[in-house]
Symmetry: C2
Subunit: 403 residues, 2 copies
Amino acid sequence: MDFQHYFATRASRMKASEIRELLKLLDRPGVISFAGGIPDASYFPAKQFGAAFQDALNSETSGTALQYSISEGFRPLRQWLAAEMGKIGVPCTEDNIMITSGSQQALDYLGKMLLSPGDTALVNWPTYLGALGAFNAYEPRYDKLSINGNRSAADFASDAEAAGGRVKFAYLSADFSNPTGETVDRRGRENLIDTAEELDCVIIEDAAYQSLRYDGEVIPPILALEIERKGSIEECRTIYCGSFSKTLSPGLRIGWVCAAEPLISQMVLLKQAGDLHVSTVNQMAMAQVAEAYFDEHVDTLHRVYSERRDAMLAALVEMMPEGVEWTKPEGGMFVWMTLPAHVDTTEVFKIAIETENVAFVPGHSFFADGSGRNTMRLSFSCADQETIREGIRRLSKVIKTVL
Amino acid sequence: MDFQHYFATRASRMKASEIRELLKLLDRPGVISFAGGIPDASYFPAKQFGAAFQDALNSETSGTALQYSISEGFRPLRQWLAAEMGKIGVPCTEDNIMITSGSQQALDYLGKMLLSPGDTALVNWPTYLGALGAFNAYEPRYDKLSINGNRSAADFASDAEAAGGRVKFAYLSADFSNPTGETVDRRGRENLIDTAEELDCVIIEDAAYQSLRYDGEVIPPILALEIERKGSIEECRTIYCGSFSKTLSPGLRIGWVCAAEPLISQMVLLKQAGDLHVSTVNQMAMAQVAEAYFDEHVDTLHRVYSERRDAMLAALVEMMPEGVEWTKPEGGMFVWMTLPAHVDTTEVFKIAIETENVAFVPGHSFFADGSGRNTMRLSFSCADQETIREGIRRLSKVIKTVL
């Protein structure tokens, strides 16, 4: 049977990720992978979660834990998150917060809420692949966000109009972004708010890695900077998307959106229509573990991941040939590497996995226009320092053969 | 700030549910509610879930339980479900199954996969409110599904074309449906398959209540009947949506879709873009509890809920005035009541809650065209027999005043 002809027009924009196919090659012995962008499972607070699930499922609260619950999310978790947001310059209440099935779901729902077909989304070149995947279903046009760049808001607006829509939002991860590991400085954040004001569009701030700063100066979230200007979150156009997936656990699928109440109310309607609510028992367990243990756990991750980042940067300096450049992230999980323009990293990937058993993610998938063929993403989160050193040794060997 | 003008055109179809507002009135002492369509929390297998979460979070498997996992879903759970589907006439493998965040998410993703704006969805008048909520975001036109009715496939097709699209699917719950409690007989199911063949459209079979049959003859799922005709699930246009929410627990948010592999593959792309995957630890816990305990637990629910259904039907016969009609469900959670045409059940609701402290859901929200103002849904799942009798006494008193 041919099922294709049943599909909506938007389905043509939903393609299997090339990366996903590449990653299937990694299931082989002895491979050193810098490909996955996932936390190291050996550091999950399993005991704390075990105890928290036991507590949620005790005889007094199990009826609540296993039952339907409200679409906004478990109130004590939202209260804890509101207090945490306050600590990073975002005074708000639990009514400014909705719990999502990971921040990926926030991106899906924001695309659904904001994008009519042909509207423009401003994204970095490169940007988080999963954001493109989420937005694609709503058939946007992409334009290249240029923070501190020379394109004016009027340019963005007229190009969007010529394409039959308007600029609905700018999407970015401002701290140690996936895939580049780079951070937008304070001036860049202020410029972005100015541009969004001129365009009268929303800012989607993806803060998935924000807690993972290892050194350098803390820069307030974009939402905090906008609140500084306007006095209240209720006057702000920035929608902040947070996640526990890079800190306590991705397996519980818990993220959150923090924004002005009318935006949260609309998101709650989408959540009701979409999947009703996030797992009740998971929200209860997460609330307990986060309250008792978040700060301590993040300290552990800072120590572990910063050592790995240092090991990777040191090995790169020592072993990579001339002509290869890379970012120096102050946090997160990623180093972004740029090879000379003639090199295609998809070809390098095949050679690397076949001859040296080392893997990374070719960079062009992170570009809305498929450019960036000479780039690659390296993750340092899941290998110990010795393995990182050996992996960079293997990779540099491969790269030397293609230069 | 006015945030409305940022929203996509589809957002105008996403409205707050009137029911949800009404249900807020129920948070008062002494109320007897037949409004909620939820399982009785006192029967959740809390101990079994407690043990299963402990097992998933033990030192050997916690790294898996708390980590990201594949979008298709946890393989052992899909294998168990494939075997269960085999028992009800749907031979298939785990590759025919994807795990969703409740069957609500399956409906959302199916709308997203199938509906272009202006396409037609055939639904019952009345139908599950949450299905309308899920589909609305994709801007369909609705037409009235008439099983065993006199409208031909050609009629449906030409009306859909006149509206600028085509019939993409027929959606229904064939067993003890929400809201009517009614079951489509075998001939009706065969007719529906015939109509779908003629229309060349998909059938979405919402089987949320299918395990909750208390008496009467078991009728094979629509998907099973289509497989009988065609020999293999791979030739079938029926997409089966199952759920654990009415049996083991809604709080874990676990449902599943069972269909031909190309349809599942496309759904997996939507899941990847939408929220990556269902909570890993929840899928592991559900797999363990389902395998060890599903049949025994469903037996308990049959006993409890059938007694409550009997109590409600007996009280209705005894106490309701002439001119009031209701369904006699063979399973599920709902009785559907029809009052004389001049009665508006939204008005009855207000009187009932204010004067007699008894609640139900006014029926018109379940109609895609807002008709059915003289209907109401009564749920018998959450009250014991004595309370049901007292609630029906109160309700009949109110109804007598408005006839």
